[in-house]
Amino acid sequence: MLRFIPLLPFVGFLINLALGRRLSKRISGAVACLAMFGAFLVSAWSVWTLVQMAPDSRGIVDRVAPWIESGALSIPFTLRLDPLGAVMVLVVTGIGFLIHLYSTAYMHEERDSEYARYFSYLNLFAAFMLVLVLGANFPVMFVGWEGVGLCSYLLIGFWFSKKSASDAGKKAFIVNRVGDFGFLLGMFMVWVQFGTLDFQAVAYQAGRLPPETVFGTLSIATLLLFVGASGKSAQIPLHVWLPDAMEGPTPVSALIHAATMVTAGVYMIGRNAVLFSHAPDTMAVVAGIGVATALMAGTIGLVQNDIKRVLAYSTVSQLGLMFVAMGVGAFAAGIFHLYTHAFFKALLFLGSGAVIHALAGEQDIRKMGGLRRELPVTYWTFLIGSLAIAGFPLLSGFFSKDEILWKAFSGGHTTVWAVAVVASLLTAMYMFRLVFLTFHGKRASAGSGAHAADASHAVAGHAQAGGGGKADHGHTNHAAHLHDAPPAMAIVLILLAAGSVVAGYIGVPRVIGGSNRIEAFLEPSFAVPGIEAGMPGEAAGEASVAAKPAEAAEAPLTTAGASHAEAPQGAEGAKAGEGGTELTLMAFSIGIAFTGIGLAAYFFLNRRDVTDRIAASFAGVHRLLLNKYFVDEAYDAVIVQPIYRVSERGLWKIVDAGLIDGAVNTAGESVSGWSAVLRLLQTGSIRAYALSIFVGVVVILGYYVWR
């Protein structure tokens, strides 16, 4: 049954691929959307069946086919749905479907063939993403992993005729290669260590080991895996590709580069929770990187002027937060935030898409302003999204983010917590800077903006990354007069807004009367698997036995593992004790959110002059932030240029032109030379040929005679 979840989008992809250029927009769009919707229904159904099962033995397995069988290595192509996967699947198919719907309107101005191409890519992405999520072992997941990488490349470079777009695509692809390399190595180490690649088997065996106190195999493996994760999820130092990825169509940014694909890293760590929680060093690294990324991205986001780039950096920083959660062992919290974030970040991107749509491809927020009245739907939905991400009380973002912060604090990582708090403050600030600059105040220069858009459109390719008027969207024909999102978009926006409001309520913390249902739901996925790992009985028994010391050792680290599953009331007691602190922290983070909003209001709504003055006085810092800490430049200087030089001077001029071509040419010339000699044998006289044959016969026979 599970196999149909990825299969449906894949079929849609095939259809649009095969006869896309013959189908009308309506049909190809319908095909894609229906495929996604079907996938959504199937996954909803299977999740429902999953929920029916006993809490700690939830899991649906679909053995599609034996795949790689070689000696000890046996990798079946198996799909498994467990609580973690369930959340991801719902996010991917549900939000994926909404974004497909949105795209039908957003991409409407493309040519039919382009339109079909877009949707075929989108479907393909969904298929691969679902394989990634459902894969029951590393290689299957890796298939999805690479597949989504490919689709991301294709979709970022969708307008490949625009150089910046194709460059961004290549950049994303190459940076992801680095990460994937790490992933592969990690996979190999896991294989060497455990002799299996099935997630549950690995988790089971890892659960039996004591957590590494010293830096050892597990740490290396997990670190390598984390490299992969950070590549896919744009963490330092591999975060550079994500902002550029905004060259792609906005729905793509929403789906791939905000909601689903970039969270694959987080998901992967969650998938290997047991493994990671046995490698404290790695966990520390994860937390550190995460928080650093969150802070850095937040600061950058504060000064960017491209609406989508701001969102991109916000995505990066949110991903950072998720990694913090992972790092402190609050896997459930991380996934929870991933889930809520999918809603409001998709919402925000689509909203920005609506804005860009309305402004004829204008993306520079300095040229916007006062759109509140022209685009009410967009405005309100966008506002809700911003509030949610800023952690406004009782919106989804509030619960998830607060959960992370609390877990970090209660886990004893106070520094991490502190930085994370700052990051969330920044989040509130840049988000509302965005809101105010875009929708409030007075219109800076709408017409000129539109015209600039047209101009820049006419001069394709002049638009460099980060520049204004990047003409993401192919509107040319409407000028200053604005129109709100067309119905398809509007519906999606409203749905997502509703989602961002309510999505959090499956994870209301206990202290405020909620029963953190999602956590309870997710925990089994992070616990050391028991029977359902498909282990023989007695092995399962000793598994549960072996699990205990492991958790005991984990205790200082995290509240992960089966502790909840085993002794909820004990956990309750513990929580009751901590309750006061948690409430305080909650109040504190609420305060943070409001502070951020207020500061944003002060700086970007009332006192723009102050802002400019600050920016002027801290010109250096400002330029630093504006140029994203010069990371790209650094990479260019440290990695790209040397490689380029070596390739040009050494590999090309010497190795290729010198050795290889030389060898080939010499071979060719020698052949022609020899044949010039041998040509003399070709007298063209039949009997001469016969004679030569005959001599051969005589000689050979003679050899046998005189032997």
Binding site: S685, R687, A688, L691, V697, V698, G702, V705
Partner: protein, 177 residues
Amino acid sequence: MGTELLLFYLFGGVAVAASLLVVLGRNPMHSVLLLIVSFAALAALYITLDSPFAAVIQIIIYAGAIMVLFLFVVMLLNAHKEDEDVAAGGPAMKKPLYMGAALAVVLAAELVWALLRAARAQDDLLIGGASPDAAAIGSVRGLGQLLFTDYAFAFEVTSILIIVAMVGAVVLAKREL
């Protein structure tokens, strides 16, 4: 024994003489006819070898079909005499050819040697002593069974070969395609 040997020398001599004349004669027509004679002699030898079927085949197919074909061509092109050394190579061409002829003699020697050795090797795998019963070999029935069981595949392939040859001959000889 004596008569058989006598027959062998008689027909063998005829065959060799005829073949030599075929090879040395200058008139293609005569060559063709002499070749038929040598075929006939060989057929006779086949009969002494208890292979009447082979003999008859030899006559029917070789003498009756292939040679008629040659005869036709000779008659159509009426190449009475083979043209003298107007060859492009001219005398220069001759040397290697005489060398080839000389080599042919060498080859004959080598062949005799090799075949005799093969014959000696043959002796130990004789079936049923020095002279197996003639009926076993001579009977057309046995031959047919062999042909359509063990050699069935080869037989089919031959038929394909024949078809290809037919088509090829037609295509080649057609004046304009």
